[in-house]
């Protein structure tokens, strides 16, 4: 057993490289899906019936499909429609598409619980369209939804592990690489699980600090 830990330690550069890639993937996917999710939430809260219907279908589809199937679809399926992506682009864009649906859903839930008089007051003060959204709606919605957004970011980190199957060099891929060369499965995968754990604790800490900071500014 101790040989395993020595081997993993000798290859800590590869593990850290994988961890860094996981962090990059998750951070990019989180920011992009949050922005796209906010736009999608705007669409869902609008009164444009046909567009709302299309957005709802998209979200329902994302909620029904397992992430790995979506990643396979983007990587293996889209080329037959004439769109070929390398494994990194395919992995990242499927992470973004998948989580945009979830982000939109939880932002809409927070939006619906917003008191209507705030928005009416904004109208009375002459705010219109996107201005209302950016200045009046978005700040409290983001603040109220912060814990849910944090949970979703953790979900993104966990989903990114699926991308090892399409050979994206993230943390699980690094661990699997070390294990298949030196046959040290226990140490390699336990190390990976512990690194994921630290990463998720970090995300929770970050959300807590951000919430406290936003609370102080209010």
């Amino acid at each position: 057993m101790s040989r395993g830990w020595i081997v993993v330690w000798q290859h800590h550069n590869e593990m850290l490289h994988g961890l860094l890639n996981t962090m990059w993937l998750a951070a990019l996917a989180a920011v992009a899906s949050l922005i796209l999710g906010a736009l999608l939430a705007m669409v869902l809260m609008s009164r444009l019936r046909p567009v709302v219907r299309i957005a709802t279908i998209f979200i329902d589809a994302m909620r029904c499909v397992p992430f790995l199937l979506l990643a396979y679809f983007v990587y293996y399926g889209l080329p037959s429609l004439g769109l070929t992506l390398d494994n990194w682009t395919a992995g990242l864009s499927s992470l973004i598409a998948y989580n945009t649906g979830y982000m939109a859903e939880l932002l809409v839930a927070a939006w619906r619980s917003l008191p209507a008089d705030t928005i009416e007051a904004a109208h009375a003060f002459g705010f219109h369209g996107f201005g209302v959204f950016r200045r009046i709606v978005l700040p409290p919605v983001l603040l109220n939804a912060a814990p849910m957004i944090g949970n979703q970011v953790i979900q993104i980190v966990k989903d990114s592990a699926f991308l090892t199957i399409i050979a994206v060099a993230e943390l699980t891929h690094a661990a699997a690489g070390i294990q298949s060369t030196y046959y040290v499965p226990f140490a390699a995968f336990v190390a990976a699980v512990l690194l994921y754990w630290l990463l998720c604790l970090g995300v929770e800490q970050f959300v807590g600090v951000a919430e406290a900071a936003a609370g102080r500014r209010r």
């Binding site: 029904c64 980190v157 046959y183 994921y196 604790l201």
Partner: protein, 214 residues
């Protein structure tokens, strides 16, 4: 897609259903036991449960599946792909179930426990007759939600070589050079499976709302 392709896809669906349901069936009682241990603040065990829940909740299903399938044999325990897949899903869902059960236990109204105490009910009877039935009722929607998440994490077990819906669809796509039809069929199969749970959830939520009104 030929008839044979459909057959292998349905076989994959059978595997997904079998593994998901087995994972749920093992994960639920395990999660309940963990939640009770944590809730009763059992010395030594309760902090261990908290640590287990924290780590397992952060562990991706793929990584967990690789750990169980490859590491157990190196510790001298031979494990076949199907049991390894069930163990992965059960362990990963048990941590989430534990948190749901614990939330239900913490939210349980104190006065009912006190009333049961006043009637002289011993602890085990109190738990079995008063707390458990009502708690199970309130946490059901959250549990069903977790079941749908488990189904969507289930393709992770493909790393052990099990051929589930996703794996079968990818294989057919690679054989026929037409990946889209099997993937669409897989999406429909997953949606139907998830839909069953969503319907179950909606009907429980409706019943809860009716009972709240009554």
């Amino acid at each position: 897609m030929s008839f044979y392709d459909w057959l292998s896809l349905l076989q994959g669906a059978g595997v997904t259903v079998l593994l998901s349901l087995s994972g749920i069936a093992i994960g639920l009682p395990l999660g309940l036991i963990l939640a009770v241990v944590h809730w009763l603040r059992v010395p030594v065990l309760a902090p261990l449960v908290a640590l287990y829940v924290s780590i397992v909740r952060a562990a991706p299903a793929v990584t967990l599946a690789l750990l169980i399938f490859f590491a157990l044999p190196s510790a001298g325990i031979e494990i076949a792909p199907i049991p390894a897949g069930i163990a992965t899903l059960a362990i990963s869902t048990s941590a989430f179930d534990c948190e749901i059960f614990r939330g239900g236990l913490l939210a349980f109204p104190r006065d009912q426990v006190e009333a049961a105490l006043a009637f002289g009910m011993p602890a085990l009877l109190r738990f079995r007759r008063i707390i458990l039935p009502q708690m199970l009722h309130t946490v059901r929607p959250a549990l069903i939600n977790e079941m749908t998440l488990l189904i969507k994490a289930s393709p992770a077990i493909a790393v052990t070589g099990v051929v589930d819906i996703t794996r079968a669809a990818v294989r057919i796509g690679a054989d026929t050079y037409e990946p889209l039809p099997p993937m669409m069929a897989a999406l429909v199969l997953y949606s139907l499976f998830v839909l069953l749970f969503v319907i179950m959830q909606r009907s429980t939520e409706r019943r809860l709302r009716r009972e709240a009104l009554a």
